[in-house]
Subunit: 293 residues, 2 copies
Protein backbone atom coordinates (compact mmCIF):
# COMPACT_ATOMS: atom_id res chain seq x y z
CA UNK A 1 0.00 0.00 0.00
CA UNK A 2 1.26 3.46 -0.85
CA UNK A 3 2.28 5.69 2.02
CA UNK A 4 -0.07 8.67 2.03
CA UNK A 5 0.72 12.17 3.29
CA UNK A 6 -2.16 14.56 4.00
CA UNK A 7 -1.60 18.32 4.20
CA UNK A 8 -4.44 20.48 5.52
CA UNK A 9 -6.71 19.26 8.32
CA UNK A 10 -9.55 21.78 8.16
CA UNK A 11 -13.22 20.77 8.29
CA UNK A 12 -12.89 19.05 4.91
CA UNK A 13 -9.32 17.73 5.19
CA UNK A 14 -9.64 16.24 8.67
CA UNK A 15 -12.66 14.18 7.62
CA UNK A 16 -11.06 13.14 4.34
CA UNK A 17 -7.77 12.13 6.01
CA UNK A 18 -9.80 10.08 8.49
CA UNK A 19 -11.22 8.00 5.63
CA UNK A 20 -7.71 7.42 4.26
CA UNK A 21 -6.60 6.17 7.68
CA UNK A 22 -9.70 3.97 8.05
CA UNK A 23 -8.90 2.38 4.69
CA UNK A 24 -5.60 1.20 6.17
CA UNK A 25 -3.14 3.46 4.33
CA UNK A 26 0.02 4.30 6.29
CA UNK A 27 -0.69 7.98 6.89
CA UNK A 28 1.36 11.04 7.78
CA UNK A 29 -0.43 14.36 8.35
CA UNK A 30 0.48 18.01 8.68
CA UNK A 31 -1.54 21.15 9.36
CA UNK A 32 -0.41 24.78 9.46
CA UNK A 33 -2.22 25.43 12.74
CA UNK A 34 -1.10 22.82 15.30
CA UNK A 35 -3.50 20.73 17.37
CA UNK A 36 -5.67 19.45 14.51
CA UNK A 37 -3.95 16.05 14.22
CA UNK A 38 -4.87 14.49 17.59
CA UNK A 39 -7.81 12.37 16.45
CA UNK A 40 -5.87 11.17 13.38
CA UNK A 41 -2.83 10.32 15.49
CA UNK A 42 -5.19 8.34 17.74
CA UNK A 43 -6.15 6.37 14.59
CA UNK A 44 -2.45 5.54 13.99
CA UNK A 45 -1.36 8.45 11.77
CA UNK A 46 2.01 10.14 12.26
CA UNK A 47 2.24 13.91 12.47
CA UNK A 48 5.04 15.50 10.44
CA UNK A 49 6.98 18.60 11.50
CA UNK A 50 6.67 20.24 8.10
CA UNK A 51 5.33 19.63 4.58
CA UNK A 52 8.91 18.80 3.61
CA UNK A 53 9.17 16.08 6.27
CA UNK A 54 5.73 14.77 5.29
CA UNK A 55 6.81 14.60 1.65
CA UNK A 56 9.91 12.61 2.55
CA UNK A 57 7.71 9.99 4.26
CA UNK A 58 5.04 9.73 1.53
CA UNK A 59 4.47 8.17 -1.89
CA UNK A 60 1.21 10.04 -2.55
CA UNK A 61 0.59 13.45 -1.01
CA UNK A 62 -2.91 14.86 -0.73
CA UNK A 63 -3.24 18.61 -0.26
CA UNK A 64 -6.48 20.15 1.01
CA UNK A 65 -6.00 23.82 1.86
CA UNK A 66 -7.98 27.00 1.21
CA UNK A 67 -6.63 28.92 -1.74
CA UNK A 68 -3.98 29.25 -4.46
CA UNK A 69 -1.40 31.00 -2.20
CA UNK A 70 -1.82 28.26 0.44
CA UNK A 71 -1.11 25.55 -2.13
CA UNK A 72 1.97 27.42 -3.35
CA UNK A 73 3.15 27.86 0.23
CA UNK A 74 2.83 24.20 1.31
CA UNK A 75 4.36 22.94 -1.94
CA UNK A 76 7.04 25.51 -2.75
CA UNK A 77 7.45 27.70 0.38
CA UNK A 78 10.14 27.24 3.06
CA UNK A 79 10.13 23.61 4.32
CA UNK A 80 7.53 22.99 1.61
CA UNK A 81 6.73 19.58 0.20
CA UNK A 82 8.91 20.19 -2.89
CA UNK A 83 11.98 20.19 -0.63
CA UNK A 84 11.37 16.69 0.68
CA UNK A 85 9.59 14.98 -2.20
CA UNK A 86 11.30 12.17 -4.10
CA UNK A 87 11.14 11.42 -7.82
CA UNK A 88 8.23 9.14 -8.65
CA UNK A 89 5.90 10.60 -6.04
CA UNK A 90 2.48 12.02 -6.77
CA UNK A 91 0.82 15.20 -5.47
CA UNK A 92 -3.00 15.18 -5.44
CA UNK A 93 -4.40 18.64 -4.77
CA UNK A 94 -7.96 18.58 -3.45
CA UNK A 95 -7.99 22.33 -2.79
CA UNK A 96 -10.09 24.59 -5.01
CA UNK A 97 -7.68 26.95 -6.77
CA UNK A 98 -7.29 28.66 -10.13
CA UNK A 99 -6.71 26.27 -13.06
CA UNK A 100 -3.67 28.34 -14.01
CA UNK A 101 -2.12 27.81 -10.55
CA UNK A 102 -2.70 24.07 -10.87
CA UNK A 103 -0.97 24.02 -14.27
CA UNK A 104 1.97 26.02 -12.93
CA UNK A 105 2.39 23.73 -9.88
CA UNK A 106 2.22 20.66 -12.13
CA UNK A 107 4.96 22.03 -14.37
CA UNK A 108 7.28 22.81 -11.48
CA UNK A 109 6.77 19.34 -9.96
CA UNK A 110 7.16 17.62 -13.33
CA UNK A 111 10.66 19.12 -13.48
CA UNK A 112 11.50 16.96 -10.44
CA UNK A 113 9.84 13.83 -11.75
CA UNK A 114 6.82 14.31 -9.49
CA UNK A 115 3.30 13.85 -10.82
CA UNK A 116 0.40 16.20 -10.13
CA UNK A 117 -3.36 15.72 -10.19
CA UNK A 118 -5.83 18.50 -9.44
CA UNK A 119 -8.77 16.87 -7.67
CA UNK A 120 -11.10 19.50 -6.24
CA UNK A 121 -14.09 18.12 -4.38
CA UNK A 122 -17.75 19.02 -4.13
CA UNK A 123 -20.24 18.00 -1.47
CA UNK A 124 -19.33 20.14 1.51
CA UNK A 125 -18.63 19.00 5.04
CA UNK A 126 -21.44 16.43 4.93
CA UNK A 127 -19.88 14.87 1.85
CA UNK A 128 -16.45 14.84 3.48
CA UNK A 129 -17.79 13.19 6.64
CA UNK A 130 -19.84 10.58 4.80
CA UNK A 131 -17.17 9.95 2.13
CA UNK A 132 -19.70 10.84 -0.56
CA UNK A 133 -17.73 13.67 -2.19
CA UNK A 134 -17.84 14.26 -5.92
CA UNK A 135 -14.26 14.61 -7.16
CA UNK A 136 -13.14 16.11 -10.50
CA UNK A 137 -9.64 15.00 -11.57
CA UNK A 138 -7.35 16.78 -14.00
CA UNK A 139 -4.04 15.18 -14.98
CA UNK A 140 -2.23 12.49 -16.93
CA UNK A 141 -4.29 9.30 -17.07
CA UNK A 142 -1.56 7.31 -15.29
CA UNK A 143 -1.42 9.85 -12.46
CA UNK A 144 -5.19 9.91 -12.11
CA UNK A 145 -5.29 6.11 -12.05
CA UNK A 146 -2.72 6.13 -9.26
CA UNK A 147 -4.66 8.76 -7.29
CA UNK A 148 -8.00 6.99 -7.69
CA UNK A 149 -7.83 4.36 -4.90
CA UNK A 150 -6.86 7.01 -2.36
CA UNK A 151 -9.61 9.37 -3.59
CA UNK A 152 -12.08 6.47 -3.55
CA UNK A 153 -11.80 6.35 0.25
CA UNK A 154 -13.18 9.93 0.41
CA UNK A 155 -15.58 10.22 -2.49
CA UNK A 156 -18.41 8.47 -4.26
CA UNK A 157 -18.01 9.81 -7.80
CA UNK A 158 -14.51 10.33 -9.16
CA UNK A 159 -14.33 11.58 -12.73
CA UNK A 160 -11.24 12.17 -14.85
CA UNK A 161 -12.24 15.29 -16.76
CA UNK A 162 -9.08 16.20 -18.71
CA UNK A 163 -5.48 17.39 -18.35
CA UNK A 164 -4.10 19.25 -15.33
CA UNK A 165 -6.33 22.24 -14.55
CA UNK A 166 -9.48 20.63 -15.98
CA UNK A 167 -10.56 19.44 -12.52
CA UNK A 168 -10.38 23.02 -11.28
CA UNK A 169 -12.27 24.29 -14.33
CA UNK A 170 -15.07 21.79 -13.68
CA UNK A 171 -15.17 22.85 -10.03
CA UNK A 172 -15.55 26.47 -11.15
CA UNK A 173 -18.45 25.40 -13.40
CA UNK A 174 -19.98 23.65 -10.39
CA UNK A 175 -19.76 26.81 -8.26
CA UNK A 176 -21.32 28.90 -11.06
CA UNK A 177 -24.26 26.50 -11.33
CA UNK A 178 -24.66 26.61 -7.55
CA UNK A 179 -24.70 30.43 -7.62
CA UNK A 180 -27.80 30.51 -9.81
CA UNK A 181 -29.49 27.57 -8.14
CA UNK A 182 -29.05 28.94 -4.60
CA UNK A 183 -30.30 32.39 -5.61
CA UNK A 184 -33.32 30.95 -7.43
CA UNK A 185 -34.26 28.84 -4.41
CA UNK A 186 -33.66 31.77 -2.04
CA UNK A 187 -35.87 34.11 -4.07
CA UNK A 188 -38.59 31.47 -4.40
CA UNK A 189 -38.61 30.84 -0.66
CA UNK A 190 -38.70 34.56 0.15
CA UNK A 191 -41.62 35.06 -2.26
CA UNK A 192 -43.43 32.12 -0.65
CA UNK A 193 -42.85 33.55 2.85
CA UNK A 194 -44.09 36.98 1.78
CA UNK A 195 -47.18 35.38 0.19
CA UNK A 196 -48.00 33.63 3.48
CA UNK A 197 -47.72 30.13 2.03
CA UNK A 198 -46.87 27.00 4.03
CA UNK A 199 -43.30 27.13 2.77
CA UNK A 200 -42.22 23.69 3.97
CA UNK A 201 -45.09 22.18 2.02
CA UNK A 202 -44.20 24.32 -1.01
CA UNK A 203 -40.61 23.06 -0.97
CA UNK A 204 -41.86 19.50 -0.87
CA UNK A 205 -44.42 20.03 -3.64
CA UNK A 206 -41.95 21.79 -5.96
CA UNK A 207 -39.34 19.11 -5.35
CA UNK A 208 -41.40 16.77 -7.52
CA UNK A 209 -41.15 18.93 -10.65
CA UNK A 210 -38.83 20.96 -12.85
CA UNK A 211 -37.73 23.12 -9.89
CA UNK A 212 -36.23 20.04 -8.23
CA UNK A 213 -32.63 20.39 -7.11
CA UNK A 214 -30.23 19.24 -4.42
CA UNK A 215 -30.22 22.81 -3.13
CA UNK A 216 -34.02 22.98 -2.81
CA UNK A 217 -34.19 19.59 -1.09
CA UNK A 218 -31.20 20.08 1.22
CA UNK A 219 -30.94 23.83 1.83
CA UNK A 220 -34.53 25.09 1.54
CA UNK A 221 -35.16 24.33 5.20
CA UNK A 222 -32.25 26.51 6.33
CA UNK A 223 -33.55 29.41 4.26
CA UNK A 224 -37.03 29.03 5.78
CA UNK A 225 -35.59 28.94 9.32
CA UNK A 226 -33.06 31.71 8.51
CA UNK A 227 -30.35 29.61 10.17
CA UNK A 228 -27.30 28.58 8.21
CA UNK A 229 -25.11 25.93 9.87
CA UNK A 230 -22.29 24.47 7.73
CA UNK A 231 -22.36 23.05 5.01
CA UNK A 232 -20.06 25.15 2.91
CA UNK A 233 -18.87 28.57 3.98
CA UNK A 234 -20.00 31.73 2.20
CA UNK A 235 -16.38 32.96 2.26
CA UNK A 236 -15.17 29.86 0.40
CA UNK A 237 -17.90 29.98 -2.22
CA UNK A 238 -17.14 33.66 -2.79
CA UNK A 239 -13.46 32.77 -3.18
CA UNK A 240 -14.44 30.10 -5.73
CA UNK A 241 -16.69 32.56 -7.61
CA UNK A 242 -13.66 34.85 -7.79
CA UNK A 243 -11.78 32.03 -9.55
CA UNK A 244 -14.74 31.48 -11.89
CA UNK A 245 -15.11 35.18 -12.68
CA UNK A 246 -11.34 35.48 -13.31
CA UNK A 247 -11.59 32.50 -15.67
CA UNK A 248 -14.61 34.10 -17.35
CA UNK A 249 -12.67 37.33 -17.78
CA UNK A 250 -9.71 35.49 -19.34
CA UNK A 251 -11.95 33.40 -21.61
CA UNK A 252 -14.41 36.15 -22.53
CA UNK A 253 -17.50 34.64 -20.90
CA UNK A 254 -20.31 36.82 -19.51
CA UNK A 255 -21.77 35.42 -16.26
CA UNK A 256 -24.31 37.91 -14.89
CA UNK A 257 -25.91 35.66 -12.25
CA UNK A 258 -22.49 34.59 -10.99
CA UNK A 259 -21.50 38.25 -10.61
CA UNK A 260 -24.78 38.98 -8.83
CA UNK A 261 -24.23 36.07 -6.42
CA UNK A 262 -20.70 37.31 -5.67
CA UNK A 263 -22.12 40.75 -4.89
CA UNK A 264 -24.68 39.22 -2.51
CA UNK A 265 -22.00 37.10 -0.83
CA UNK A 266 -19.78 40.17 -0.38
CA UNK A 267 -22.73 41.79 1.39
CA UNK A 268 -22.79 38.76 3.73
CA UNK A 269 -19.07 39.16 4.42
CA UNK A 270 -19.53 42.81 5.27
CA UNK A 271 -22.39 41.86 7.58
CA UNK A 272 -20.24 39.37 9.47
CA UNK A 273 -21.77 36.21 7.97
CA UNK A 274 -18.68 34.84 6.17
CA UNK A 275 -18.59 31.65 8.21
CA UNK A 276 -22.24 30.73 7.62
CA UNK A 277 -23.34 28.16 5.07
CA UNK A 278 -23.71 29.60 1.57
CA UNK A 279 -27.47 29.10 1.80
CA UNK A 280 -27.20 32.38 3.76
CA UNK A 281 -27.62 34.16 0.41
CA UNK A 282 -31.28 33.87 1.47
CA UNK A 283 -30.45 36.11 4.44
CA UNK A 284 -29.72 38.96 2.03
CA UNK A 285 -32.86 38.38 -0.08
CA UNK A 286 -34.92 38.13 3.13
CA UNK A 287 -33.43 41.35 4.47
CA UNK A 288 -33.99 43.25 1.23
CA UNK A 289 -37.59 42.03 1.31
CA UNK A 290 -38.23 43.26 4.84
CA UNK A 291 -38.47 39.85 6.51
CA UNK A 292 -37.32 39.82 10.15
CA UNK A 293 -33.74 38.65 10.77
CA UNK B 1 -68.81 9.73 -13.17
CA UNK B 2 -68.86 13.50 -13.38
CA UNK B 3 -69.23 15.05 -16.80
CA UNK B 4 -66.07 17.00 -17.54
CA UNK B 5 -65.74 20.07 -19.76
CA UNK B 6 -62.30 21.10 -20.99
CA UNK B 7 -61.62 24.63 -22.25
CA UNK B 8 -58.31 25.29 -24.00
CA UNK B 9 -56.69 22.69 -26.25
CA UNK B 10 -53.19 24.08 -26.68
CA UNK B 11 -50.06 21.96 -26.35
CA UNK B 12 -50.76 21.45 -22.66
CA UNK B 13 -54.56 21.34 -22.70
CA UNK B 14 -54.92 18.91 -25.60
CA UNK B 15 -52.66 16.37 -23.91
CA UNK B 16 -54.35 16.86 -20.54
CA UNK B 17 -57.88 16.54 -22.00
CA UNK B 18 -56.74 13.34 -23.72
CA UNK B 19 -55.90 11.80 -20.35
CA UNK B 20 -59.34 12.78 -19.00
CA UNK B 21 -60.98 11.06 -21.99
CA UNK B 22 -58.77 7.97 -21.60
CA UNK B 23 -59.86 7.71 -17.96
CA UNK B 24 -63.44 7.32 -19.20
CA UNK B 25 -64.94 10.63 -18.15
CA UNK B 26 -67.78 11.89 -20.42
CA UNK B 27 -65.94 14.82 -21.99
CA UNK B 28 -66.95 18.01 -23.78
CA UNK B 29 -64.22 20.26 -25.19
CA UNK B 30 -63.93 23.78 -26.55
CA UNK B 31 -61.05 25.77 -27.99
CA UNK B 32 -60.94 29.39 -29.13
CA UNK B 33 -59.20 28.48 -32.39
CA UNK B 34 -61.24 25.76 -34.17
CA UNK B 35 -59.74 22.55 -35.47
CA UNK B 36 -57.93 21.48 -32.30
CA UNK B 37 -60.63 19.04 -31.13
CA UNK B 38 -60.45 16.40 -33.87
CA UNK B 39 -58.30 13.85 -32.06
CA UNK B 40 -60.35 14.23 -28.88
CA UNK B 41 -63.61 13.86 -30.79
CA UNK B 42 -62.14 10.68 -32.29
CA UNK B 43 -61.71 9.47 -28.69
CA UNK B 44 -65.42 10.09 -28.03
CA UNK B 45 -65.42 13.69 -26.77
CA UNK B 46 -68.09 16.15 -27.85
CA UNK B 47 -67.11 19.57 -29.14
CA UNK B 48 -69.14 22.49 -27.75
CA UNK B 49 -70.05 25.63 -29.70
CA UNK B 50 -69.05 27.96 -26.86
CA UNK B 51 -67.78 27.94 -23.27
CA UNK B 52 -71.39 28.62 -22.25
CA UNK B 53 -72.64 25.49 -24.06
CA UNK B 54 -69.75 23.49 -22.61
CA UNK B 55 -70.65 24.69 -19.12
CA UNK B 56 -74.28 23.62 -19.56
CA UNK B 57 -73.11 20.08 -20.36
CA UNK B 58 -70.53 19.74 -17.58
CA UNK B 59 -70.31 19.10 -13.84
CA UNK B 60 -66.62 19.92 -13.59
CA UNK B 61 -65.01 22.38 -15.99
CA UNK B 62 -61.25 22.45 -16.50
CA UNK B 63 -59.76 25.61 -17.98
CA UNK B 64 -56.27 25.60 -19.49
CA UNK B 65 -55.58 28.83 -21.36
CA UNK B 66 -52.67 31.26 -21.54
CA UNK B 67 -53.15 34.25 -19.30
CA UNK B 68 -55.41 36.16 -16.90
CA UNK B 69 -57.43 37.96 -19.66
CA UNK B 70 -58.05 34.61 -21.42
CA UNK B 71 -59.43 33.08 -18.22
CA UNK B 72 -61.68 36.12 -17.70
CA UNK B 73 -62.85 35.90 -21.31
CA UNK B 74 -63.77 32.19 -21.32
CA UNK B 75 -65.46 32.44 -17.90
CA UNK B 76 -67.14 35.87 -17.96
CA UNK B 77 -66.98 37.10 -21.58
CA UNK B 78 -69.80 36.81 -24.16
CA UNK B 79 -71.02 33.20 -24.34
CA UNK B 80 -68.62 32.52 -21.46
CA UNK B 81 -68.90 29.58 -19.10
CA UNK B 82 -70.61 31.69 -16.41
CA UNK B 83 -73.62 32.06 -18.71
CA UNK B 84 -74.24 28.30 -18.97
CA UNK B 85 -72.96 27.01 -15.67
CA UNK B 86 -75.39 25.53 -13.13
CA UNK B 87 -75.28 25.84 -9.34
CA UNK B 88 -73.21 23.07 -7.77
CA UNK B 89 -70.68 22.90 -10.59
CA UNK B 90 -66.94 23.30 -10.14
CA UNK B 91 -64.42 25.28 -12.21
CA UNK B 92 -60.82 24.02 -12.07
CA UNK B 93 -58.41 26.51 -13.61
CA UNK B 94 -55.12 24.93 -14.72
CA UNK B 95 -53.93 28.13 -16.41
CA UNK B 96 -51.11 30.12 -14.82
CA UNK B 97 -52.54 33.52 -13.89
CA UNK B 98 -52.19 36.14 -11.16
CA UNK B 99 -53.35 34.97 -7.71
CA UNK B 100 -55.53 38.10 -7.50
CA UNK B 101 -57.33 37.16 -10.74
CA UNK B 102 -57.97 33.67 -9.36
CA UNK B 103 -59.44 35.13 -6.15
CA UNK B 104 -61.64 37.50 -8.13
CA UNK B 105 -62.94 34.73 -10.43
CA UNK B 106 -63.65 32.52 -7.41
CA UNK B 107 -65.69 35.29 -5.75
CA UNK B 108 -67.77 35.93 -8.85
CA UNK B 109 -68.49 32.21 -9.30
CA UNK B 110 -69.24 31.70 -5.60
CA UNK B 111 -72.07 34.23 -6.04
CA UNK B 112 -73.70 31.70 -8.41
CA UNK B 113 -73.06 28.69 -6.19
CA UNK B 114 -70.18 27.52 -8.37
CA UNK B 115 -66.92 26.34 -6.81
CA UNK B 116 -63.47 27.33 -8.00
CA UNK B 117 -60.06 25.71 -7.65
CA UNK B 118 -56.87 27.22 -9.04
CA UNK B 119 -54.72 24.31 -10.15
CA UNK B 120 -51.74 25.54 -12.17
CA UNK B 121 -49.45 22.81 -13.42
CA UNK B 122 -45.71 22.36 -13.75
CA UNK B 123 -43.81 19.90 -15.90
CA UNK B 124 -44.11 21.31 -19.40
CA UNK B 125 -45.34 19.52 -22.51
CA UNK B 126 -43.50 16.33 -21.55
CA UNK B 127 -45.33 16.28 -18.23
CA UNK B 128 -48.66 16.89 -19.97
CA UNK B 129 -48.07 14.10 -22.46
CA UNK B 130 -46.87 11.58 -19.89
CA UNK B 131 -49.48 12.61 -17.26
CA UNK B 132 -46.67 13.35 -14.82
CA UNK B 133 -47.53 16.99 -14.14
CA UNK B 134 -47.06 18.52 -10.72
CA UNK B 135 -50.29 20.36 -9.78
CA UNK B 136 -50.70 23.00 -7.05
CA UNK B 137 -54.29 23.42 -5.86
CA UNK B 138 -55.76 26.43 -4.11
CA UNK B 139 -59.36 26.35 -2.89
CA UNK B 140 -61.81 25.03 -0.32
CA UNK B 141 -60.90 21.52 0.80
CA UNK B 142 -64.20 20.10 -0.48
CA UNK B 143 -63.66 21.65 -3.91
CA UNK B 144 -60.09 20.39 -4.11
CA UNK B 145 -61.23 16.91 -3.09
CA UNK B 146 -63.80 16.98 -5.90
CA UNK B 147 -61.20 18.17 -8.43
CA UNK B 148 -58.60 15.63 -7.40
CA UNK B 149 -59.77 12.52 -9.35
CA UNK B 150 -59.95 14.53 -12.59
CA UNK B 151 -56.53 16.12 -11.94
CA UNK B 152 -55.13 12.69 -11.07
CA UNK B 153 -55.63 11.61 -14.69
CA UNK B 154 -53.18 14.36 -15.78
CA UNK B 155 -50.66 14.65 -12.98
CA UNK B 156 -48.46 12.65 -10.68
CA UNK B 157 -48.24 14.96 -7.67
CA UNK B 158 -51.31 16.94 -6.66
CA UNK B 159 -50.90 19.12 -3.57
CA UNK B 160 -53.53 21.24 -1.85
CA UNK B 161 -51.49 24.28 -0.83
CA UNK B 162 -54.08 26.66 0.64
CA UNK B 163 -57.12 28.81 -0.19
CA UNK B 164 -57.98 30.10 -3.67
CA UNK B 165 -54.94 31.85 -5.16
CA UNK B 166 -52.41 29.79 -3.20
CA UNK B 167 -51.95 27.41 -6.15
CA UNK B 168 -51.02 30.37 -8.34
CA UNK B 169 -48.68 31.74 -5.69
CA UNK B 170 -46.87 28.38 -5.49
CA UNK B 171 -46.63 28.29 -9.29
CA UNK B 172 -45.03 31.75 -9.21
CA UNK B 173 -42.53 30.48 -6.63
CA UNK B 174 -41.79 27.56 -8.96
CA UNK B 175 -41.09 29.89 -11.89
CA UNK B 176 -38.81 32.05 -9.73
CA UNK B 177 -36.77 29.01 -8.64
CA UNK B 178 -36.56 27.93 -12.29
CA UNK B 179 -35.29 31.39 -13.28
CA UNK B 180 -32.23 31.08 -11.06
CA UNK B 181 -31.64 27.41 -11.76
CA UNK B 182 -31.80 27.79 -15.57
CA UNK B 183 -29.45 30.79 -15.50
CA UNK B 184 -26.98 29.03 -13.21
CA UNK B 185 -26.91 25.97 -15.46
CA UNK B 186 -26.65 28.14 -18.59
CA UNK B 187 -23.72 30.11 -17.19
CA UNK B 188 -21.98 26.94 -16.00
CA UNK B 189 -22.33 25.32 -19.42
CA UNK B 190 -21.08 28.42 -21.22
CA UNK B 191 -18.04 28.61 -18.91
CA UNK B 192 -17.37 24.91 -19.54
CA UNK B 193 -17.63 25.42 -23.32
CA UNK B 194 -15.30 28.41 -23.20
CA UNK B 195 -12.81 26.41 -21.07
CA UNK B 196 -12.73 23.66 -23.69
CA UNK B 197 -14.06 20.98 -21.34
CA UNK B 198 -15.97 17.87 -22.42
CA UNK B 199 -19.24 19.50 -21.42
CA UNK B 200 -21.42 16.39 -21.67
CA UNK B 201 -19.10 14.65 -19.23
CA UNK B 202 -19.12 17.72 -16.98
CA UNK B 203 -22.92 17.72 -16.83
CA UNK B 204 -22.88 14.06 -15.87
CA UNK B 205 -20.17 14.51 -13.25
CA UNK B 206 -21.82 17.54 -11.63
CA UNK B 207 -25.19 15.80 -11.59
CA UNK B 208 -23.87 13.61 -8.77
CA UNK B 209 -23.29 16.53 -6.37
CA UNK B 210 -24.72 19.72 -4.95
CA UNK B 211 -25.21 21.21 -8.45
CA UNK B 212 -27.71 18.45 -9.25
CA UNK B 213 -31.06 19.61 -10.59
CA UNK B 214 -33.82 18.59 -12.96
CA UNK B 215 -32.73 21.46 -15.20
CA UNK B 216 -29.10 20.30 -15.37
CA UNK B 217 -30.11 16.70 -16.06
CA UNK B 218 -32.89 17.45 -18.55
CA UNK B 219 -31.97 20.76 -20.20
CA UNK B 220 -28.15 20.82 -20.09
CA UNK B 221 -27.98 18.91 -23.38
CA UNK B 222 -30.08 21.50 -25.21
CA UNK B 223 -27.82 24.28 -23.96
CA UNK B 224 -24.72 22.38 -25.15
CA UNK B 225 -26.28 21.77 -28.58
CA UNK B 226 -27.74 25.32 -28.70
CA UNK B 227 -31.06 23.83 -29.84
CA UNK B 228 -34.20 24.44 -27.82
CA UNK B 229 -37.19 22.29 -28.76
CA UNK B 230 -40.24 22.48 -26.43
CA UNK B 231 -40.48 21.96 -23.44
CA UNK B 232 -41.88 25.16 -22.11
CA UNK B 233 -41.97 28.35 -24.15
CA UNK B 234 -39.79 31.34 -23.28
CA UNK B 235 -42.82 33.60 -23.86
CA UNK B 236 -44.87 31.71 -21.26
CA UNK B 237 -42.13 31.67 -18.66
CA UNK B 238 -41.63 35.40 -19.18
CA UNK B 239 -45.39 35.89 -18.72
CA UNK B 240 -45.18 33.88 -15.48
CA UNK B 241 -42.18 35.91 -14.27
CA UNK B 242 -44.29 39.00 -14.87
CA UNK B 243 -46.89 37.56 -12.48
CA UNK B 244 -44.15 36.75 -9.95
CA UNK B 245 -42.58 40.21 -10.22
CA UNK B 246 -46.01 41.87 -9.87
CA UNK B 247 -46.62 39.76 -6.75
CA UNK B 248 -43.18 40.70 -5.46
CA UNK B 249 -43.97 44.37 -6.03
CA UNK B 250 -47.27 44.09 -4.17
CA UNK B 251 -45.71 42.11 -1.31
CA UNK B 252 -42.47 44.07 -1.07
CA UNK B 253 -40.10 41.25 -2.08
CA UNK B 254 -36.82 41.92 -3.89
CA UNK B 255 -36.04 39.28 -6.53
CA UNK B 256 -32.90 40.33 -8.43
CA UNK B 257 -32.24 37.03 -10.26
CA UNK B 258 -35.86 36.80 -11.32
CA UNK B 259 -35.65 40.32 -12.75
CA UNK B 260 -32.39 39.42 -14.52
CA UNK B 261 -33.98 36.30 -16.04
CA UNK B 262 -36.94 38.34 -17.27
CA UNK B 263 -34.52 40.77 -18.92
CA UNK B 264 -32.71 37.90 -20.66
CA UNK B 265 -36.01 36.38 -21.79
CA UNK B 266 -37.15 39.75 -23.19
CA UNK B 267 -33.91 39.76 -25.20
CA UNK B 268 -34.94 36.35 -26.60
CA UNK B 269 -38.37 37.71 -27.54
CA UNK B 270 -36.80 40.64 -29.35
CA UNK B 271 -34.52 38.19 -31.17
CA UNK B 272 -37.47 36.10 -32.38
CA UNK B 273 -36.95 33.18 -29.99
CA UNK B 274 -40.22 33.46 -28.02
CA UNK B 275 -41.43 30.01 -29.08
CA UNK B 276 -38.25 28.18 -28.09
CA UNK B 277 -37.92 26.21 -24.88
CA UNK B 278 -36.93 28.38 -21.92
CA UNK B 279 -33.55 26.64 -21.82
CA UNK B 280 -32.84 29.15 -24.62
CA UNK B 281 -31.71 31.56 -21.88
CA UNK B 282 -28.39 29.82 -22.65
CA UNK B 283 -28.59 31.27 -26.17
CA UNK B 284 -28.25 34.77 -24.69
CA UNK B 285 -25.37 33.82 -22.36
CA UNK B 286 -23.65 32.02 -25.27
CA UNK B 287 -24.10 35.05 -27.52
CA UNK B 288 -22.79 37.50 -24.93
CA UNK B 289 -19.79 35.20 -24.48
CA UNK B 290 -18.95 35.11 -28.18
CA UNK B 291 -19.91 31.49 -28.82
CA UNK B 292 -21.17 30.79 -32.36
CA UNK B 293 -24.97 30.74 -32.76
Amino acid sequence: MERVGFIGLGTMGAAMAGHVAEAGYPLTVWNRTPGRAASLVAMGAKEAESPSALAAASDVMVVCVSDSPDVEQVLFGPAGAAEGVREGCLVVDCSTIAPATARSAAERLAGRGVGFVDAPVSGGSEGAQKATLTIFCGGDPAHVARARPVLATMGKTITHVGPVGAGQAVKAVNQVILAGTYLGVAEGIVLALKAGLDVGQVVEALGGGAAQSWVLANRGGRMIDNEYPLGFKVALHLKDLGIALDMAGDLGADLPVTALCAEIERELLVGGHAAEDMSAVARVIRGRSGLPD
